[in-house]
Symmetry: C2
Subunit: 364 residues, 2 copies
DNA sequence: ATATTTTACTTAAACGATATAGCAAAAAAA
DNA sequence: TTTTTTTGCTATATCGTTTAAGTAAAATAT
């Protein structure tokens, strides 16, 4: 391992606390792995089966003596027993974990989703494995494969472009799966997405209603349907108003340059309002606006996506489409767990309506 | 489960693709759990031990015939074998997973840390379990306990206030552990933190050098040493300049109200520059500034923390202390894995120097 | 008094991998 | 030829659970 870093290592003195209060402990202990069912069984003078039953609350069901049950429970508590979940998973075939693959967990939008999924899963007694695919189908497949090897009970996936095969395969193998944020029309799989068409329509329509005469959109050049739906929604609105569409697409790689070019073109073409269908694009646009002293909302009207501190704190507060992130996440978890628990739950597609937050950036 | 959500459920038609191309498959398959060592052994006509050896690259070591090894390898590939990592973990006592507990993964700072840890761990062949503690010692303990039950090989923890006991206990139980972002001076445990004292000193000193006469700080009312060190650094700088310290502390709960009060007091007291030692505090401050039409940098000088789009896009670009997040994360992973691999690696404390990004907000 | 049922537990086989100890056959050494 | 060594593999215990199947003793029924 290289050390490219600018730091200083400080070796601490041998610990004066290490065995300080070894003999007493306040609350429940956290132990590495020691105590097993066998240990409890030994101490209680019963079989491991009994212990397992009692500890899983199947005492009644298996007609275990009340006295014995109490005894076992007490010993388990005393010894601070913690089940080895790997072993349980191995035996029972279900681990209580969910796998979540997003594009990039450092992206605030997905970070929020991750958090909401974490909470929702926790409420339903599951824990979550996260992974970032970086919009690479290959990486996504590797991640999913790893998650499955780790025995997750199901997956929530934000699919990237060209990942249809992987998704198909998961379906074919009956792995509980919910797509999030984006879905594939041709694959029969559960999904939870924003009503992107509607959101984009509303956003564009709002710009038009505000009096802008030439509304454009700067979108990613991807076939993923969330982006296509946003473009469709935009087109629908401009068409309805009898305007020409101004769709500027940019590739994700070499983003900065591509964005700059698109933006310049928009300005040259006399576009007087822009719908920006992702946070990243919106943020880039705000930078461009600052750098080129474009006047918002007079010279250029703006509706962005997803929101964030930067939107609120920009010199002119930015209007945006707000996704109900929490609802999307909760719904995805609910559907997934339903599929896991209820083996033959039906495939569900959920489309949640977003809201338009209107600020000054779109009110000339 | 309640459905408080605004959505419509769309039931998809039964899948026309479900068995579409069941007979051929392009790339490697993702299978739920089917193929085991035993299956391969059976097909190859050898024992499971052989298969295990070969697949783990211990062929030479165990003098396995080249021919046989090749054969096994090929069958494994054909059957698309994927090891059950739970089983391996159970048997070998090591799972190749790391547990990471941060305050809140939806916080951009920690989201970035999560991402960097994920990448670093991946490079070193491990995967990561994340959890958010919400700055609650109780929740942190529960999370850690769960992670240990899941068999993580080690932990990276952003400890919260009052979590000393839990950390002590982990040490006592020899669980590989690295604290991140914050550490406890009295506990002999590895840590990777920013040189907070230095960073705060630099930031404050910069404000003083810029000519501000009454520099204040708005900090959280927590005993955690990252915050205390930031306050100390601030105090050192003002003291050195012969100025009085203006430390305004706020509780984390009821944050908005508390912040407002602190901010008002600062302005009333004639503070002409502020050092804001976290992102959250900085963002709140920017909101306050907008709401109260405070002139930056003339009326009030500003140095924030951690950066972000909002800092760049604010009407006056905001100066800030930049943490080398990537380096912090990578270092934490390196140290942790070193502790895991090299059982008696020594405890290391690493303090990385941050840099001051100067913008207009601190140049009157 | 014997048969049946109920109660309260135990045995032991999995789950899928790893790893130690051991065994036969072939090759080399004596 | 016999002994030793090497080569190439197998058998099996084990990790910590769960769970089906079984059993022995006590209680109830006949």
């Amino acid at each position: 391992m290289q050390n490219l870093l600018d730091y200083e290592i400080i070796l601490l003195p041998l610990c004066r606390y290490l065995h300080a209060n070894a003999s007493f402990m306040k609350t429940e202990m956290i132990t590495l792995k020691k105590v097993s069912l066998k240990d409890i069984a030994a101490k209680a003078g019963v079989s491991t089966a009994l212990v397992s039953f009692v500890l899983n609350g199947k005492g009644q069901e298996h007609r275990i003596g009340e006295e014995t049950a109490r005894h076992i429970l007490q010993i388990a508590k005393e010894m601070n027993y913690r089940p080895n979940l790997a072993a349980r998973g191995l035996r029972s075939g279900t681990t209580g974990t969910l796998g979540v693959v997003v594009s990039d967990i450092s992206n605030p939008f997905f970070a929020q989703i991750a958090r909401d999924i974490e909470d929702a899963a926790d409420k339903l007694g599951r824990t979550v494995f996260f992974g970032s695919s970086d919009e690479s189908a290959e990486k996504m497949k590797t991640l999913i494969s790893g998650l499955i090897n780790r025995g997750v009970d199901g997956l929530i996936v934000v699919p990237c472009e060209h990942s249809e095969d992987t998704i198909q395969e998961l379906c074919k193998n009956k792995i509980p799966l919910v797509l999030l944020d984006r879905n594939f029309n041709d694959i029969n799989v559960s999904y939870v997405v924003l009503d992107n068409f509607n959101a984009a329509y509303k956003a564009t329509r709002h710009l038009i209603d505000s009096g802008y005469k030439k509304v454009g959109i700067i979108a990613y050049d991807v076939k993923l349907n969330h982006m296509q739906d946003r473009i469709r929604g935009y087109k629908e609105a401009v068409a309805e108003a009898g305007m020409a569409a101004n769709v500027l697409v940019i590739k994700q790689k070499n983003f900065d340059k591509a964005f700059d070019k698109a933006m310049r073109k928009a300005m040259d073409d006399g576009v007087d309002a822009l719908f920006l269908p992702t946070v990243t694009i919106t943020i880039s646009c705000l930078h461009y606006i600052n750098d080129h002293n474009i006047e918002i909302p007079k010279q250029l009207g703006l509706v962005g996506f997803d929101g964030g501190d930067a939107f609120d704190l920009f010199s002119v507060p930015v209007s945006y489409v707000s996704q109900p992130v929490r609802h999307l996440s909760v719904k995805a978890v609910e559907i997934l767990i339903d599929m896991i628990v209820n083996k033959n739950a039906s495939v569900q597609g959920v489309r949640i309506v977003g809201s338009l937050i209107v600020r000054q950036s779109s009110l000339p």
